[in-house]
Chain length 316, copies 2
């Protein structure tokens, strides 16, 4: 049976393979013991730019015609997609503009500038991000690279799950954080093709549970005020992402802020890996036993590791 | 030419190989760029118990006669050796006692208890650590496992460098933190045998520079008051360690507290690896360019990742 989503993902793999890090898959005896499962972590916090976002941004930019890429690219992002677009553009000699909300972690903003992007600051609302981007597009003709609602971006994000399962073999369960839904949709496409018996579960902060409510009502929720430390997951679900998620994702679970912090600390302390709160959202359901799953082979995508360490290092 | 130190190290490898993690060797484009060298990090922060200390402790305990191991083992340690002895003893059904100074990071103390050791707290001086241990030995007959001044421990620590060079091939330079000198002496033994053209350099906090002063004067300095955040490097150089270091180490360099923190932050931010300050001591010379080395192949042993995160997570 032909599956155009998978075909696009498969092409993305060929297109970006030489430029992305094949990030390691790690395990942790302490997590296995606490969760009573065998857990494999795909370490996208070790991806270039510190998150999986590089995969999708690169695939989108490499898919542009020469004429379009000559006009430059633009995006808006709370941080990780910003860095991803900036580096992907730089690697291929494309000019980039990035709209960043004022409250984004400083480390993400600085890294984006280091990659050579032109930064435009805006108010910390989704609407003002879109407004600023529209203005720049009008002024420069730059091509918009959506952070998630774009099939090339979704296909790129899905390549992480392909690499994961190549190393682990069949999995019973995949846990993936969901914000705009690029990583979750991409992972679900990969899973449906490569290991259709696995369940794909989106993990979301209770304080920004638009995907949970959308999934359960069948209607995409776009108006809400996110209240979560997981700064990568504050954005609403994209339209195409929603469609894919409704068809190929098995469930969406919510976790509290306390559980996010607990999971983040657990990974820092036991795995010695710096992960950001958004990544911890997909770890938390294993620690709080809300999934009611025992003895299974579980894949978790540790989506990123860009944390603002200023406050921590000021303590010394 | 026969080399009894190397022979012991080689036996240690066979003895502990099945129980230690073969930790990954990682690279980091940002470090390469800043230091202008090609740097390979042996990630002993990902070793069992979170530091290389597990190698030496395990080798020492596996070397005990049945009669001796039946009496149990005892050690004193600011933290990492404590966990290492506790886990190594537990794995082999040996009872363990650990003397820990009151100011040791809580995370290290708790982990030691979790591994089943009996904890004895003492004043935060080296003398009171030794006193408390002597008392327990008298009371229980337990066998002392020295944190560093023991050829079986030194041999165990040296196995990390063997694994490193198996993956990287020849290196020009090896940077190793030095406290009691177990890791540095073990690494120097491995290097002298496997890649004699490489320089082995000990890295030490300027605030606890007994190894630097011992190395340069030829007389072992044992009386000093350490003032450094690198809690694993506050102990004086062991006697046998000093002998090996004088014969096989090329130089010892010192770094400031500011440089230690800067290097620690660099690794957290760019490599997304949690390393403790003692590990950062061997990274700092690459960032401050004090080594005057360019274009070389450099190995760094990231010795451990046990940091007390309480203060950080209280910020949220």
């Amino acid at each position: 049976m032909s599956d155009p989503w998978w075909e696009q993902l498969s092409r993305a793999r060929d297109q970006i393979g030489a430029f992305v890090h094949r990030t390691p898959v790690m395990t942790c005896a302490a997590i296995d013991r606490v969760s009573e499962n065998t857990v494999f972590f795909k370490c996208e916090n070790l991806q270039r730019t510190g998150s999986f976002k590089f995969r999708g941004a690169l695939n989108a930019i490499l898919s542009l015609s020469l004429e379009k890429s000559a006009r430059g690219v633009i995006t808006h992002s709370s941080g990780n997609h910003a860095q991803a677009v900036a580096l992907a553009a730089k690697l291929h000699g494309v000019r980039s503009f990035v709209v960043i909300p004022q409250d984004a972690p400083m480390v993400k903003r600085e890294a984006t500038e280091d990659y050579g992007a032109t930064i435009i600051l805006c108010e910390p609302t989704y609407a003002s991000r879109e407004q600023a981007a529209t203005r720049i597009i009008k002024e420069t003709g730059a091509v918009f690279v959506d952070p998630h609602d774009d099939l090339r971006v979704i296909a790129g994000q899905g390549t992480a799950a392909v690499e994961l399962v190549e190393e682990t073999g069949p999995l019973d369960l995949l846990l993936v954080p969901v914000g705009g839904g690029g990583l979750l949709a991409g992972t679900a496409i990969a899973a449906a093709h490569l290991f259709p018996r696995a369940k794909v579960i989106g993990c979301e902060p209770a304080g920004a549970d638009d995907a949970y409510r959308s999934f359960n009502s069948g209607r995409r929720v776009t108006e809400f005020t996110p209240r979560t430390i997981a700064d990568g997951l504050r954005t609403p679900l994209g339209e195409q992402n929603f469609e894919i998620i409704m068809k190929r994702v098995h469930d969406i679970v919510r976790v509290s802020e306390e559980e996010i912090l607990g999971a983040m600390r657990f990974i820092w302390e036991r795995m010695k890996l710096v992960i950001e709160p958004s990544s911890a959202v997909a770890v938390a359901p294993l620690l709080n036993h809300s999934l009611d799953v025992i003895g299974e082979r579980v894949g978790v995508i540790l989506s990123g590791g860009n944390v603002d360490l200023d406050r921590f290092f000021q303590l010394f």
